[in-house]
Symmetry: C2
Subunit: 370 residues, 2 copies
């Protein structure tokens, strides 16, 4: 069962059923324009990460502004986009089981599909599926430039794996996946710059070592909303994979300076109880707003603090100097600590122009973890 | 779009697509039998909380063992159960908006529906909807016995609100909702006992004060998996609302002593990378297993620790003395830190007998936050 649509076009914000994921379309469009302009000027391709928005509708808005395609993390997310007409999709992640690989091979009949590998066994599994499907699949080597997750070591290990891919009749070597995820959330500009510089050096050395054995990298991809200007400036990366810039979140806003994008995604929530002076309880707890990167903020109401999330309740504290108070039935906009997993709780986006609902469309990739 | 079913009946566990929510049916049935036997012996009614399982299928299994109905937190959860044939549903939470109340009134044509209120404005809103629907709606007064969330104060405030409900031609006073949620997760038995004793005293005084004005409480409801024996022993509560006992989780298992139920829900996850000795990366991060109550455990593999969750990646550390290692493509069962929000990430349950898939059925209340 899907959630019922929480609104219809033409409604006022006060009529939206809550909790609901609402987008300020003006601000989201400005974010997309700003990133597109940056990439044009920096002469680097933009392949935004759809793990943030999970929507072919938003993907097409990005592509209309010059993005060359989309990134996803999972085959089921790739399906949600390809079935929505997106033509070029990179699974920026390892896929290792025959069942998932067969789905990607089937999807490659309707879109350009690339994926990543970081070990010989995975390459062999992809090769078997590609051979069975009678096609060549495009595989990038993921290199580990942050030392904490997937990826082979930059340099000789990466070259060996790339040669294995390039030597296969059923595979195409597509380049390098090089994502420095830790750098995104380092708070100081110099920390982020230095972390990306190290990743870029490792990546450049690997690109050079590949060139020395006759392998060129169509894609050298990475970067995120917290650091993309550094990857672009490095001259090594030719595709930026930032995703969060489209919506922003409270955690990225804690970077100094924060990324130059506006918060455009909110969770609309209703006060369902105001049991004591200085306290109110919302109808949105951590089932409705992800708390893995901190509690949400209350948009435009600095006198109110969201101090606790249980499953279906959010507890607010009103600072004593507050001009007003919160009344039962009133709504507030929450700024999620982290948009990607927050969006994953919703089946529908409500697109707003100011306080008016302009459109309601599905989060087609919601829950697509497989 | 729903997730595709990750398995079919008859499959072996190794054939299940991951991540997937799997239930050990033998252990879940034993948990349900044990709780049913406890309630029969304690002469207290059982109204399990469906916020844990979100499934009319599991609700009916509980009801077949003697449960009188179900609790939910949201009108959309009530719909998922009533549309699946559950006949008696208590929304153990405040519902304040006309749109949601109208849905509950409609639902009351096909099932017995009760809900809670903690303020006069909410009672008036319920009354208006009941009058418009030409029916009487059953309303409980929620009292705040833990001082942190919804609820009027026990005693005079609660009595005033109950009298307001009982005086309405469109409402029926249904009793008291008295949930001591904090007590559930206090680690020591004496702490939980003392916290519940305080809540029970406040509740008993309110029941007495209501009786003094001629109002009797059909339902005096509360309790959870961490404390239900104390509520049952108090003689005040006549309905227990425990939910997690059916699945258990890693957090409840940290209570001393832990509740006498077995872990029956797991997230099945696949190793998608093993980049370095002593490390492996799973295809399940915090989008697939809730981390609000701590990271998951790896079931039956004490030599492996789940040390980090990003959106779609779970990082494992193998202790050096580990007999074996983890290989790409291998699956593990994760014990969620908290089952309720973990289940909320999945559209399907996979019911297992040992390692064989017996049934696949929907998490009908998944995402039903409205």
């Amino acid at each position: 069962m899907m959630q019922r649509p929480p609104a219809e076009p033409g409604m006022d914000e006060s009529e939206i059923d809550t909790p609901a994921a609402i987008i300020d379309l003006d601000l989201m469009e400005a974010n997309m324009d700003r990133m597109a302009a940056f990439c044009r000027k920096a002469k680097v391709r933009l392949r935004p990460h759809a793990k943030t928005h999970k929507s072919p509708v938003i993907a097409h808005w990005q592509i209309a502004r010059g993005a060359i395609g989309q990134c996803v993390q999972k085959p089921a997310e790739a399906e949600a986009l390809a079935w929505g007409g997106v033509r070029d999709i990179l699974v920026s992640n390892e896929v290792v089981t025959p069942r998932k690989l067969a789905r990607l091979a089937a999807l490659a009949k309707m879109a350009e599909i690339s994926l990543c590998a970081d070990n010989e066994g995975a390459v062999a599994a992809i090769e078997r599926v590609a051979e069975a499907a009678g096609m060549r699949m495009r595989v990038l080597v993921e290199i580990d430039v942050m030392g904490v997750r997937c990826g082979v070591l930059p340099g000789a290990q990466a070259v060996a794996l790339a040669r294995r891919i390039a030597a296969s009749r059923h595979l195409v070597f597509g380049g390098l996946q090089s994502y420095q995820g830790v750098a995104q959330h380092l708070r100081e500009e110099e920390q982020r710059r230095d972390a990306v510089a190290q990743a870029a050096r490792n990546t450049a050395e690997t690109v050079d070592a590949l060139r020395a054995v006759g392998l060129s990298c169509d894609i050298v991809g990475g970067a995120g909303t917290g650091s993309f200007a550094h990857e672009a400036a490095s001259g090594v990366y030719n595709e930026l994979q930032a995703g969060s810039y489209v919506f922003m979140d409270a955690d990225y806003a804690r970077n100094r300076p924060g990324p130059d994008f506006a918060q455009s995604l909110f969770v609309l929530s209703t006060v369902m109880s105001a049991p004591r002076d200085g306290t109110a309880v919302l109808d949105c707890g951590h089932k409705g707003v992800a708390v893995d990167s901190g509690l949400p903020l209350v948009f435009g109401r600095p006198e109110i603090e969201y101090i606790g999330a249980s499953d279906e309740h959010g507890t607010l504290a009103l600072r004593s100097e507050a001009a007003g108070s919160l009344t039962v039935g009133e709504t507030v906009r929450l700024v999620p600590g982290h948009c990607d997993p927050t969006v994953d709780r919703y089946d529908w986006y409500v697109g707003m122009r100011g306080r008016r609902v302009e459109c309601v469309f599905p989060v087609a990739g919601r829950g697509m973890m497989q």
